[in-house]
């Protein structure tokens, strides 16, 4: 049993891990290179394929476990949940399924934490909750996090993973792009640091709002990042897209990402950036 178990019970074979999984020889195949990876090895390797370096999509609590100091995460606004505001057919059921699939109440997890002893506010979007799509509650939680961080002069570290705005909330989802941008502008104007870490996939209304507004923009290797989805572009231009289009590496080459950092080095890189932007470890600050 690893420490993930402290947060919640395992939801899939990948997370069960441990002796039991090893005994049963549970393996997961890498979607990129096809290699069969024993679950336990994969977990030890932060859910990165040891053969080709493919970064598996991970949920927000796992990410916080990898990046934040043990036990430092304090969740904020965890009780907020979406409602079917527009009587959109099937949305209630989708929300119920998303809650089961993610074991979370919404598509983003927000809170305060420490990274190598440095205080910060953190949000992590959830690929298992309707692919991290942004409706009013995702927008509200992120907005409140920026407002809290502005009030407490905290830097914000945001992990994005999202298909875009949530269409089941119609125009109200679109308005979240303006709302979150407004809150992060205030945070920025007050001189606070905002770091985004773009993970697979970051698309649509998220790319077109807070994902691209970071003072520093980090990306995970191989992550798909873009505005329009690949299929929509192919339909528009009636051509196949070139290999590697809309990857983190493509964005780096075109000047829209500052740096690509593998998962294993993220904690150190984030802590370095926080330190350079005026955060000092809590112990020192207390003296």
């Amino acid at each position: 049993m690893n420490l993930m178990g402290l947060f919640r019970s395992p939801q899939n074979e990948l997370e069960k891990g441990g002796k039991e999984a090893e005994d049963q020889g549970i393996r997961n195949s890498c979607p990129k290179c096809g290699v069969q990876l024993p679950i336990t090895d994969l977990q030890e390797n932060l859910n990165v394929c040891s053969a080709c370096g493919y970064h598996f999509r991970i949920g927000p609590r796992e990410r916080i476990f990898f990046v934040c100091d043990e036990g430092s995460f304090q969740e904020l606004d965890g009780e907020l949940m979406s409602r079917d505001l527009l009587d959109f057919p099937g949305y209630d059921q989708k929300l119920r399924n998303a809650k089961l699939a993610s074991r979370e109440k919404e598509g983003v997890l927000c809170g305060t934490a420490r990274i190598e002893g440095l205080d910060c506010a953190v949000f992590c979007m959830d690929p298992n909750f309707m692919m991290g799509s942004m409706g009013t509650i995702v927008g509200e939680k992120i907005t409140r996090l920026f407002e809290h961080a502005t009030q407490c002069s905290l830097p914000v570290v945001g992990f994005t993973v999202s298909g875009g705005a949530r269409m089941q909330e119609g125009i109200l989802s679109l308005m979240q792009m303006a709302k979150t941008s407004a809150a992060l502008k205030k945070h920025s104007d007050a001189g606070n640091f905002y770091l985004t870490v773009l993970t697979d996939p970051t698309l649509g209304g998220i790319t077109a709002s807070f994902a691209m507004d970071g003072d520093v923009i980090m990306a995970e290797p191989g992550a798909t990042i873009g505005f329009a989805g690949a299929r929509v572009i192919e339909q528009t231009i009636r051509k196949k897209l070139p290999q590697g289009f809309q990857t983190a590496e493509f964005l780096l080459e075109h000047g829209f990402v500052d740096l690509i950092v593998p998962r294993s080095e993220q904690k150190q890189a984030i802590a370095y950036l926080l330190r350079l932007h005026g955060q000092s470890p809590r112990e020192e600050a207390a003296q």
């Binding site: 057919p89 909330e169 679109l174 308005m175 303006a178 941008s181 649509g204 691209m212 329009a228 897209l241």
Partner: protein, 251 residues
């Protein structure tokens, strides 16, 4: 009239486009070109004009008149440089403290190869963030199609108005139907579900005003702007920005 009928009206080929509103409402429009970074995007026109003698920065999405013009203007689907030109003109307006009026009419930001290479998402993101803090009044008017983020990038404003047969939506009914039901034929259902008509916008508090589409349309926009812009210009800057923040914070 069904929601989808409104979508068709908003897209109608003979519907007046951005430039016709500029020319009917303002005097002496002087077009200014280019984003100073890459190119001039003809899908967005912008420049200087006067309203009852008051200098105003006007920006409009323009779908084009005849076929040749429509092609040149990419049917009103802006590239990143269109949004960057708009932002340049807004910053210019801020410097000289003149109000900004935007006319929104696009099926969406262009989904092309070059648009992605040049940062379509980043261009829209920057507009949202800069417009919320722009230290001069902004009024945006949705005159036809309000296609998602590509429309919002000119619609973060102190007031947003919409013509009675214009629409505003997070996704096109076609896109919604094909994603949700894998059936592009269900566009009518999708249009109903998305709540995208001008009347929906008023009900959901997304717009301050619905403007009737009759002969008096441009006259009414002109009259309303002549009344509102001096009021917004007279507001202390902090108050103007606090109200704009609250306007979007409320969603």
């Amino acid at each position: 009239m069904s929601a989808y009928d409104k979508v068709l009206l908003a897209r109608a080929k003979d519907r007046p486009t951005g430039l016709s509103y500029i020319n009917n409402i303002f005097s002496s429009f002087l077009e200014l070109h280019g984003d100073r970074r890459f190119a001039d995007d003809p899908a967005i026109v912008g420049g200087l004009a006067t309203l009852d003698g008051m200098p105003v920065t006007v920006i409009a999405m323009e779908k084009g008149s005849d076929m040749k013009d429509k092609v040149r203007r990419n049917f009103g689907a802006p590239n990143p440089e269109g949004y960057r030109k708009a932002l340049r003109l807004m910053k210019q307006a801020e410097k000289f403290h003149r109000p900004v009026v935007c006319f929104v009419d696009t099926s969406g930001a262009y989904c092309g190869l070059g648009a992605e290479e040049r940062g379509q998402g980043q261009a829209i993101a920057e507009n949202l963030m800069e417009m919320i803090g722009l230290k001069t009044p902004i009024v945006s008017i949705l005159i036809g199609e309000g296609g998602s983020g590509g429309a919002l990038a000119l619609a973060v404003a102190d007031q947003v108005w919409i013509l009675e047969n214009a629409v505003y939506s997070v996704i096109s009914p076609e896109g919604c139907a094909s994603i949700l039901w894998k059936d592009p034929k269900r566009v009518k259902d999708a249009a109903d579900c998305l709540r995208l008509t001008a009347q929906d916008m008023e009900e959901l508090g997304v717009v301050e005003k619905v403007i009737p589409e009759d002969e008096a349309c441009c006259g009414q926009i002109k009259e309303s702007l002549s009344e509102l812009l001096p009021q917004l210009l007279a507001l202390p800057q902090d108050e103007l920005l606090a109200k704009r923040y609250q306007r979007f914070r409320a969603f």
